[in-house]
C-alpha cells in the first residue's frame, strides 16, 4: 500500500495505489466480470449481490450494481465507461456524484499495480486556476489543522 500524495489532497483529488499478487489479466477480469466485481466492490462489510451486477465494458457502456450495507440499506451504484483499454486502463464517471475515476493496471514482475486516480469534486471547479487556489487554501488549512491537533 502506498500513501496518497499531499499534492492530490490539495487539488481535491485523490490517488490510491496497490501492488496485488496476481497477473494483470486476472486483475482485469476482476474489474470487468460481474461475479468478481461483486466479490470486492463493496469493500469490507458491504455486500454486492451478483445478480444486481450488469457490466457493459466498452466506451459509452455502463455498469450497475447494488451495494447492501449490514443493516440492509441498499445503495445503487452506476458508472459510465469513458475509456476502456484492455487490459491496462479503465476510465468511468458516476453521473450521480460527478466523480470520474481512472483505474490503471501495470505489470510489476508477476504482480500487478492497481492505481486509482479519482477527481472527487465536480469538473467545473478543477480548472488550472482553481487547482492553484485549492493548493494554497489547503496548505493554509492543513497548517491550521496541524496547530489545532498539536495544541
Amino acid at each position: 500500500m502506498s500513501a496518497p500524495t499531499n499534492e492530490d489532497d490539495r487539488r481535491g483529488e485523490l490517488t490510491v495505489s496497490r501492488v496485488v499478487d496476481a497477473p494483470r489479466e486476472l486483475v482485469w477480469r476482476a474489474f470487468t466480470e460481474p461475479e468478481h466485481l461483486a466479490a470486492f466492490w463493496g469493500g469490507p462489510g458491504i455486500t454486492v449481490p451478483v445478480e444486481s451486477v450488469t457490466i457493459d465494458v466498452r466506451p459509452g457502456g455502463s455498469f450497475e450494481l447494488t451495494m447492501v450495507a449490514p443493516d440492509g440499506t441498499e445503495y445503487p451504484n452506476r458508472g459510465e465507461y469513458v475509456e476502456v483499454d484492455i487490459p491496462s486502463r479503465i476510465v468511468f464517471t458516476e453521473p450521480d456524484t460527478g466523480i470520474t475515476a481512472t483505474i490503471t493496471f501495470a505489470v510489476v514482475g508477476d504482480k500487478t499495480e492497481v492505481t486509482i486516480h479519482q477527481v472527487g469534486v465536480p469538473e467545473r471547479f478543477l480548472g488550472p486556476e482553481a487547482e492553484a487556489g485549492f493548493a494554497a487554501t489547503f496548505d493554509k488549512l492543513e497548517a491550521l489543522l496541524d496547530q489545532w491537533t498539536d495544541g
Binding site: M1, P4, D9, G12, L14, V16, R18, V20, D21, A22, L26, V27, A30, H36, A39, F40, W41, G42, G43, P44, T97, I99, V114, I116, Q118, G120, V121, P122, F125, E129, A130, G133, F134, A136, T137, F138, K140, L141, E142, A143, L144, L145, W148
Partner: protein, 114 residues
C-alpha cells in the same frame, strides 16, 4: 460522510474565486475584521463584505452581527468536513483494494487446487 453534496458544492464554488480564497487563507492565520481583510486588496469594503457573505453562506466562515467591527472567523468544522470527505473517498477505495486482494488470493488458490 457528514457534509451533503449540496454543501460541498457550495463550499468548493465559494472557493473558486481567488479573492475569497485569499480571505480564507488570511482567516486561517487568525480572525480578522472586514476592514483588515480588505487591506491587501484594491477593492472596496463593500466588495469584501460581499465576498464574506458568500463564504458565510457556504458555511466556510462565520461573522458576528456588526460586520464592520466584529471579526470574521474561519469555520474550522467545514474545513475539516471537506478534508474528511476526501479522506472518506480514499478509505472507500482502500477497502475495495483490501477485498480485491482477498478475492484474488482465493481465486488463485482454487485454480491451483484444480
Amino acid at each position: 460522510m457528514t457534509l451533503t453534496d449540496e454543501r460541498l458544492d457550495a463550499a468548493f464554488s465559494a472557493l473558486a474565486d481567488p479573492t475569497r480564497r485569499a480571505i480564507v487563507a488570511r482567516l486561517s492565520m487568525g480572525d480578522a475584521t472586514v476592514k483588515e481583510l480588505a487591506e491587501p486588496f484594491a477593492i472596496s469594503l463593500q466588495a469584501v463584505s460581499k465576498h464574506v457573505r458568500v463564504l458565510e453562506r457556504a458555511g466556510l466562515i462565520s461573522q458576528r452581527v456588526d460586520p464592520q467591527r466584529r471579526p470574521c472567523r474561519l469555520e474550522i468544522d467545514t474545513a475539516v468536513e471537506l478534508i474528511d470527505w476526501i479522506t472518506e473517498q480514499k478509505r472507500r477505495w482502500e477497502g475495495r483494494l483490501d477485498a480485491l486482494e482477498a478475492h484474488l488470493e482465493q481465486l488463485q488458490a482454487e485454480e491451483s487446487n484444480e
